[in-house]
């Protein structure tokens, strides 16, 4: 009975009969949020505030990047979402059900890689997966071996499946951890730093895998401290620093939050700078043959025309889109690799 309620992919989380699930209207309005937290807070016993009033919304079908320096509260948040840690206050809903109370019905539909893989060194890779699958009461024991085989295949570990896990390299352990998250079809994948310890080739493979999973309709919640990784695979992102959520939204919007810069490449930089200033471009900076500035709020084609009319020879003209890193710097006013 529990199996059915857990396994059925419920397209209407609002129909959840669970008496404790409030905020049905909010969910329906937000359009099926897969993860939604309200004022989620965790204060550890030492008094340290790890997560402070987090309001996070992860839309269904997104690849959601969860960004922040080490020690910013990402892992504590993930542990609360997975029911491993009880929030001090606030609520968290995963797949429309409250956590950690509904862990037994929610978690079978969630695959997770939390703070790196953890394996039984004296078991082979295959036996590790068999054990994790046996721990899921809703997993069908008859299809267990087939599903384990498929998961191993998906992460490219089939050849090493019989090897003892303690002989695995860090990258292989990471893959095996991913395979454990892929033992069953999931509605949500929570991947905490999934490319840690992987070589560039492995990183690329993981990104390809994440994209493939996302195109199957799985929502992927991906935490990382690597900005370019988030930029490459994520549709949405949230940025945390010191336990607080700084911003969240579609990646494209976050990046435009920090405005792009007008870049003109020219052999006549001095003239170009003068013309641009006359045309209302602010913060003009000249570096060798590059002149950059903050673009004004009008058609940039006119600027180009003005440059050419003034006899400035233009090699390149355009707006450089701000990177997520620029956005992050603009938001936090500090470098990214800040610890704790």
């Amino acid at each position: 009975m529990q199996e059915q309620s857990a396994a059925a992919p419920d397209p209407h989380p609002g129909a959840d009969p669970d008496p404790g699930s409030d905020g049905v209207g909010a969910r329906a309005g937000a359009g099926a949020a897969v993860i939604s937290t309200r004022a989620l807070t965790k204060r550890y016993r030492g008094g340290q505030l790890a997560v402070d009033g987090l309001d996070l919304t992860v839309p269904a079908g997104s690849v959601f990047g969860f960004l922040g320096p080490n020690g910013s509260g990402k892992t504590t948040t993930i542990r609360m979402l997975m029911g491993l840690i009880e929030p001090t206050s606030g609520t968290a809903e995963v797949l429309g059900r409250p956590m950690p109370r509904s862990a037994r019905t929610v978690l079978p539909e969630v695959g997770a890689l939390i703070e790196g893989p953890a394996l039984y060194g004296f078991f082979s890779g295959r036996d590790n997966l068999l054990r994790y699958d046996a721990a899921d009461p809703t997993a069908d024991p008859r299809t267990r071996h087939a599903r384990v085989g498929a998961a191993l295949d998906r992460v490219g570990l089939t050849a090493a499946a019989g090897k003892k896990a303690k002989a695995y390299s860090l990258g292989m352990k990471q893959r095996l951890g991913l395979a454990a998250a892929l033992l069953r079809p999931r509605r949500l994948l929570v991947l905490d730093e999934p490319t840690n310890g992987l070589d560039p080739q492995g990183m690329r493979e993981i990104r390809t895998l994440v994209r493939a999973l996302a195109s199957d309709g799985t929502t992927v919640f991906l935490s990382s401290h690597l900005l370019d990784e988030i930029e490459q695979v994520c549709t949405h992102a949230a940025v945390m620093a010191r336990g607080r959520l700084i911003t969240q939204g579609p990646v494209a919007e976050l990046a435009t939050g920090a405005r792009g810069r007008l870049v003109v490449t020219t052999p006549d930089p001095a003239d170009a700078a003068r013309v641009l200033k006359e045309q209302g471009v602010g913060d003009v900076v000249v570096t060798e043959d590059r002149v950059t500035g903050e673009p004004p709020d009008r058609d940039l084609a006119e600027l180009n025309a003005a440059l050419v009319t003034a006899g400035v020879r233009v090699r390149g003209f355009g707006v450089e889109r701000a990177s997520l890193e620029d956005a992050f710097l603009a938001l936090t006013g500090e470098g990214f690799d800040v610890a704790g």
Binding site: P9, A103, A135, D136, A139, A180, D216
Partner: protein, 316 residues
């Protein structure tokens, strides 16, 4: 999504099929929910495939061999070891029943259990029980079991069932090793009970089995205690050391006459009551007290372990 739905319906059907064909769950005490058997079997595999577990069992199996060879060498000249007949109480003459081994190899089973029960057996149980939760936390595997989701209560019950199974297996390893060594080095035959009556060899074997079960049951208290300690820490080594430390402390306190009033509450106090199974008729009082005490420990520390484990933040 359609693929997911297909797989899910298959899962639902399979769950029904599993329910229709219940699998035998090994040790007693395993929860009756059928879906637990998969995790229980996985747990047994995980415990018994560890080198540490196998080494503990090997040490336990070696004890009867050492005792048997020692008695054999000692009595090579025809005298009997330990002196007086019976020797049921242990006394100052060596472990219980040791004097009888030369007459009947079956007594090596009783002697071996009497030798291993005060320390070797509970130490082995303490190691396995102490490691049960803390070891998983230490390795980080606990978080993956819980997000699988194993369920905290289900995992704890499975762990306790596994530790109970280990108690039984460890005791049977000692008994089986002793029986084999006894049969190899000494004659077998009719058994003289502590009360002086004689029973047949078959009946003697049955008594030996009963004694092994009583010894295994004697270990359930420390198993629950070890499991509770295991829920308190993220270090498997610390949990094992604490459990074995508690074992030694209780054994010492049990020897201090001034603490007489407390003695009946020490989990080890009635351990040697298993010798009463060798009386004719069997003297049940202390045996029952022992079982009652073990059940009390299991209930108290089992509840404490549950309260702790189900409310605890898993940060490892």
């Amino acid at each position: 999504m359609s693929r997911a739905e297909h797989r899910d319906t298959a899962d639902g059907g399979a769950a029904a099929a599993v329910a229709a064909v219940p699998r035998a769950v090994g040790a007693g005490g395993a929860p009756s929910r059928l879906w637990t058997s998969g995790l229980f079997r996985s747990e047994l595999l995980t415990t018994f495939r560890r080198w540490r577990t196998l080494a503990l069992l090997a040490v336990l199996a070696a004890v009867p061999v050492l005792v048997g060879i020692a008695v054999r060498i000692e009595t090579g000249d025809g005298s009997s070891a330990g002196g007086g007949p019976g020797g049921g109480g242990g006394g100052g003459e060596g472990p219980a029943f040791i004097a009888q081994i030369t007459n009947n190899g079956l007594f090596l089973v009783f002697t071996a259990l009497a030798v291993t029960l005060p320390f070797f057996l509970p130490m082995a149980v303490g190691v396995v029980a102490g490691d049960a939760i803390a070891g998983e936390a230490n390795g980080g595997t606990l978080r993956y079991l819980l997000v699988a989701p194993a369920g905290r209560t289900r995992l704890l019950l499975t762990k306790y069932a596994t530790v109970m199974t280990f108690c039984l297996v460890a005791t049977l390893v000692v008994a089986a090793s002793a029986l084999a060594v006894g049969a190899l080095l000494f004659p077998l035959g009719e058994v003289t009970t502590i009360s002086g009556t004689r029973i047949g060899f078959g009946e003697g074997l049955l008594r030996a089995l009963l004694i092994a079960l009583a010894v295994a049951a004697s270990l359930l208290g420390i198993a629950a205690l070890g499991l509770f300690v295991s829920t308190l820490t993220n270090s498997g080594i610390a949990a094992m050391a604490t459990t074995v430390g508690l074992l030694i402390t209780v054994q010492i306190l049990d020897q201090i006459p001034q603490l007489d009033a407390l003695h009946p509450y020490f989990f080890s106090h009635y351990w040697l009551s298993f010798a009463d199974l060798m009386r004719e008729p069997v003297y049940w009082d202390d045996l029952q007290r022992n079982l009652g005490l073990q059940a009390l420990y299991a209930a108290v520390f089992g509840s404490a372990a549950w309260a702790r484990f189900t409310s605890r933040d898993i940060t490892a």
